[in-house]
Amino acid sequence: MTVGIRGSIAARMSRSGLLDIALRGAFIIMFALLFAMFSVQSPNFLTGSNLVNILEGSAILLVVALALTVVVLSGGIDLSVGVALDFGAWFTVVAMLSWGLPWHVAVLCGLGGGALIGVLNAVLIVVLRVTPFLATLGTFFIGRSVQQIGTNGGANINYRNAPEGFQQLAGGSTFGIPNEVWIVAVLALIFYVGLTRSTLGRRIDAMGVQDSAARVAGLRTRRYRALVYIGSAVVASIAGILLLSGLRIYTPLSGFSYLLDGIAAVFIGASIHRHTRPNVVGTIIGVLFLSMLNVGLDLVGIDFNTKAALRGVVLVVALALAFTVSRYAYRRATVAAASGKEA
């Protein structure tokens, strides 16, 4: 994507300048303003239990967003993460209920279900060289109808008496913090270290900045690309398993609602980054912003339909803001580069 290329140029060129810092902070300022507004509007917003609510509400979206961070970093897009999430939950619940497997094994089945989606994407994108957008859109349609067929037109699967251990995955808490938050925090840490400190992360980044250059430099980009799509689907299926563990119910096609929020979080995160590249810390901030918005709008007491519209509008505004900032940074960088050449 062009963001990446622009971003890396911008990064090299504009190291300093208070204005740049202010620009990158534009989103954070918006975040803070909304936070303050909600705190004033609703006395319950700033309470400890509500803040834990926001964290818990962020957990599943964060897992999806982490998967998307890597895909977007590699220069692609994955519209089928929602389906991978659904498959994770579906395979897990079927493995426990119908096949009677112990929950540990069932979780592995869920991950395998997600991997199926990832393998389909990888074959389409790497072997058949379909563009990621259309390939994952096709996977999304197919995954959707497979679920409808498999659940008799989209019936929920209830599993009220799921094994205690499985329920503890999302439901229990350790040291007063929900297990779900622990799991997601560990996952985020792994992603952070993996993307910033490992060769693999650097290579995926290089591939996203300029694919042909990465290939000339000797990277096996096809292998890495396949890995990225399979990995993102498996990670998305973790989100599905956590969702299942928390709700003890599998609702077909429930993953789609995380897609746009996940993509938005990734791009918001990219706009905050010094190199305007997708990154884990930025994605976390983006996710927290979105769940704050979610909880805040509920507490302020807006009706369900209006909330759907408002959320969409705020998303579009946030994305527009994020991109205006990265564009502006790019323009400043090219100006700086031009004047640098003259000097």
Partner: protein, 338 residues
């Protein structure tokens, strides 16, 4: 002449040439061939498939899909085929759905005259198109991201307007579109063909159309030729949205009112129709008439599947598979061209 070259050329080469042309044919016309084979099979299974009743009703059902696809075709023509940074407008079905909700709400709940209600709906579509154009051309969001964002917002806004309820419409204009025959063909079909001709003139035969084609073909070349690509691309989003707004009339006639959730099905159908339609053009690119033929094929297929008592979920599955076939064929073709 042909016999001469045939004897003169080594056999291996001939084999290779025929294999290549077979391959090329399979890639270019593959998607259509798959649909036709499937249709043929379904027709042998259920005689109703080829009845004139079913053929007409398929055409009527295709009409709103086709009209929204005309808009999508304009956007894809102007933005180029590249999927992430190329032209795509996912918000078109949402615009069409919002327009149906606005018209239905105005007609049934407020009692506005039809022309005014349509004007309001088209104005709303114009605003959505303007926002898309702003996001894509000015701010530089990837079209897929921008239009996915507006899609969600617009679906939310239509839920606010309709309160997520069905609104029945019995306005004379809408019932006329639903029931009337013009020259022996149902009115929606005639409207579809007329709109196709108009958008075809605009997109393929006008000065703006040439600029749209040039921008989509090669952005750099178009810019070098002095075309304002950003503005041209912006126009395609606005035009597409307005066309989707007009499609609302056909949607209302088809459903005798507005129902929540029509946007999702419309999204699948328009994307499929537009990209399948590419196989009808000589150069295998997205075109306006191709989009119409694509929509008709998709509607025929849906109806034939339903007449064969295939459940709705399987119909969706078949459509998903078709999208993949289209997309894979297109990918092979770009590779061949390189």
């Amino acid at each position: 002449m042909t016999t001469l070259t045939a004897t003169a050329l080594p056999r291996r080469l001939i084999d290779r040439i025929t294999r290549q042309s077979v391959q090329r044919f399979a890639l270019r016309r593959g998607p259509i061939a798959v649909i036709l084979i499937l249709l043929g099979y379904l027709a042998t299974q259920s005689p109703l498939v080829l009845s004139s009743n079913n053929l007409w009703s398929s055409l009527v059902q295709a009409a709103p899909i086709a009209v929204v696809s005309f808009g999508l075709a304009l956007v894809v023509m102007g933005g180029g085929n590249d999927a992430v940074n190329g032209g795509i407008d996912l918000s078109l079905p949402a615009s069409a759905a919002l327009a149906t909700v606005i018209i239905a709400d105005q007609l049934t709940h407020i009692g506005t005259p039809f022309v005014l209600a349509l004007g309001l709906a088209v104005a709303a579509a114009l605003v959505i198109g303007g926002v898309n154009a702003l996001l894509v051309s000015r701010i530089g969001l990837p079209p897929i991201l921008a239009t996915l964002g507006t899609y969600v917002s617009v679906v939310g806004i239509s839920r606010v307007v309709s309160q997520n309820r069905r609104i029945n419409v019995d306005d004379p204009v809408i019932t006329w579109v639903r029931d009337a025959d013009i020259l022996g063909a149902p009115a929606p079909v005639v409207l579809m063909v007329v709109l196709m001709a108009l958008v075809w003139l605009l997109g393929h035969r006008s000065a703006l159309g040439m600029r749209i084609q040039a921008s989509g073909g090669s952005r750099d070349a178009a810019e070098a030729a002095g075309i304002n690509v950003r503005r041209t691309v912006a126009y395609t989003y606005v035009l597409a949205s307005v066309i989707a707004g007009v499609a609302a009339v056909l949607l209302l006639a088809r459903g005798s009112g507005s129902s929540p959730g029509i946007d999702e099905q419309l999204l699948v159908d328009t994307v499929l129709a537009t990209f399948v339609g590419a196989a009808f053009s000589p150069r295998n690119v997205v075109t306006v008439p191709g989009a119409m033929l694509g929509a008709i094929l998709v509607a025929l297929l849906s109806n034939a599947l339903i007449l064969n008592r295939v459940s709705n979920s399987w119909v969706d599955g078949w459509k998903g598979v078709l999208i993949l076939i289209v997309v894979i064929a297109a990918a092979f073709q770009t590779r061949e061209r390189k």
